[in-house]
Symmetry: C2
Subunit: 339 residues, 2 copies
Amino acid sequence: MARGSTRPTSRDVARAAGVSQAAVSLVLGDKWRGRVAETTAERVREAALELGYRPNLAARNLRLGHTRTVLLVVPALTTEFFAGVYTGAARVAAEHGFGVVLYPSPEGIGPARDPFHSAQAALDGVLASSMAADALTAIRGDQLPLVMLDSDPRGSLGAATVNLDIADGVRQITDHLLGLGHRHFLHLAADIPSWTFAVRAHELTTRLATVPGTAVRTIHAPITIEGAQQATTAALTGPGPHPTALVCDDDKLATGAYKAIRRMGLHIPDDLSVTGLDDLALATAIDPELTTVRLDAELFGERGMQALLAVLDGRTPTKGDIPVQLVVRGSTAPPRTRP
Amino acid sequence: MARGSTRPTSRDVARAAGVSQAAVSLVLGDKWRGRVAETTAERVREAALELGYRPNLAARNLRLGHTRTVLLVVPALTTEFFAGVYTGAARVAAEHGFGVVLYPSPEGIGPARDPFHSAQAALDGVLASSMAADALTAIRGDQLPLVMLDSDPRGSLGAATVNLDIADGVRQITDHLLGLGHRHFLHLAADIPSWTFAVRAHELTTRLATVPGTAVRTIHAPITIEGAQQATTAALTGPGPHPTALVCDDDKLATGAYKAIRRMGLHIPDDLSVTGLDDLALATAIDPELTTVRLDAELFGERGMQALLAVLDGRTPTKGDIPVQLVVRGSTAPPRTRP
DNA sequence: CGGGCGACGTTATACGTAACACTTCCGGCG
DNA sequence: CGCCGGAAGTGTTACGTATAACGTCGCCCG
């Protein structure tokens, strides 16, 4: 980990390349046309790459007096609406060389005053969802302390992980459906190669493998209402035996499935039992209300942050998955006919 | 605006208070017990307040070598789930003197690589939703260039505004319902004192005032499914004439109203027409699909950012509200009986 | 043949803050 | 009377970067 070694500065790069710090600044700042020889510039770039040099943005901002960064204040994160606002704003900003930082105005507690403290400068550490895995390559570029959320404990690059006990949630769902008498399952899975979804599939299939006479078929869909609807329609109108229970990877997928099932003139739960996972507000907005597994998102966030603070402090984060709870509602019932 | 005047530094405060810069740092850093006299400390604090001094965090971070700021990487903003994660993380972080900055990993385009550029240092400007009005007092504390989203063009402290043409959207809804034959309206309004909601109420009532024989009653509810459900239930079970059309301030409120109406055994749209505003994914997830007004959130974000960039550039942002579009779906129909 | 200019760099400085090391003043104590 | 120690500050430096100002050297042109 090289805990004690400090980050290389432009002067270190200069020493390594045998030039002055100013030359490094010119080359890396792309201001060297006609000021530095091509061969020298190349030497500097090599040295920078070699040392893994990253400019200290605090210093740069101090020197420059500006940051090309803008703050977007939004009422809360719950609204899809402001997600779109962010996307559009970030796109335009990026085209102009600006970055956007989000400040969700506090709902309830939170850092009430001084949003600017929140929106400051370089980072001491990173808390990352495994679903944002593509961004992690960039993150590994820096040597920042990292804690992963809902990620494979083995194979997280040595980073600490904080996980919800998703496996137990899936076990609870499966046992609930088995107890009702279901034997033919359809698994509506997210088409994202993330550990948190892999766990769902693994747990469902291994659990069912212990019960004779069961069958499960898996279909994949993007995590959108439309995507789930299409996938469900395709699966249910095809040939083969009809499932009596539909296990969805999350509540949003379940909502899409609801639409597909409704369009086909079928009834939930009489013709088909449906389960979700998350327990979003959505789960009780749809009819019938969804049987799902409640994840305590706030606790998850708290535990994640505590782990990161521990790492920053040189301590070892406490282990232990966060428990989850099955919530039975109107979308599950015994199958109408025994096959 | 004092465009040219630069921000006061700790040395300016020192000069004004007749002490050294070091003393200012001690006093404002709360490290002065036994090092500076109480009367002197008070003089420094007064001078700082007088000049509106704010420490330059880029300089502080450079000096300190850390930022007490942490990055939370989330898959996207659309999920309520990660809103909870943020809330919990931000609470714990605040308790430890840490701030949290959000980096929503890009969906589609966006600033793909280098999230750290996005998460950098102090701010050049602010883009603020009027719904986050409470945070604005803090924002006005600094002299940052500001652009307001969906805010009263008059009375925004001289800041530029970028607005959706909400008034026209409400007009389209009202005309649609009037055209179907509705005369008795119920208005389910958000209980937030924000301009964007005030516009809805104003436009609905003034439009109906021009049509003889119409009546409208307004009830307020928090923007949650539960809150809307309770308010709707209370309004519909009370005495008085029954409305045939329910106009909701947004799609989420409409979803809560759906639940209330369903629980009462009434049918949409036969017994009651319902409208929303936003056109979230939610609007087509519920049954029947919701007649609502589509807001182009991304365009809104783009226009807002363009305006802010213009201000930063010393230019005057282009004026003009962003058009919106009525989307008619299954939740509206002619009233069953003419009163 | 001299001087100027372009190529190729370097030296020095400033951004605003925090903190270490140092000075001065004064009261008290042996 | 001498000196010690705490209170009340001040002088100075360093954090890492970008850039303006300044050399140096060879070559070409008048």
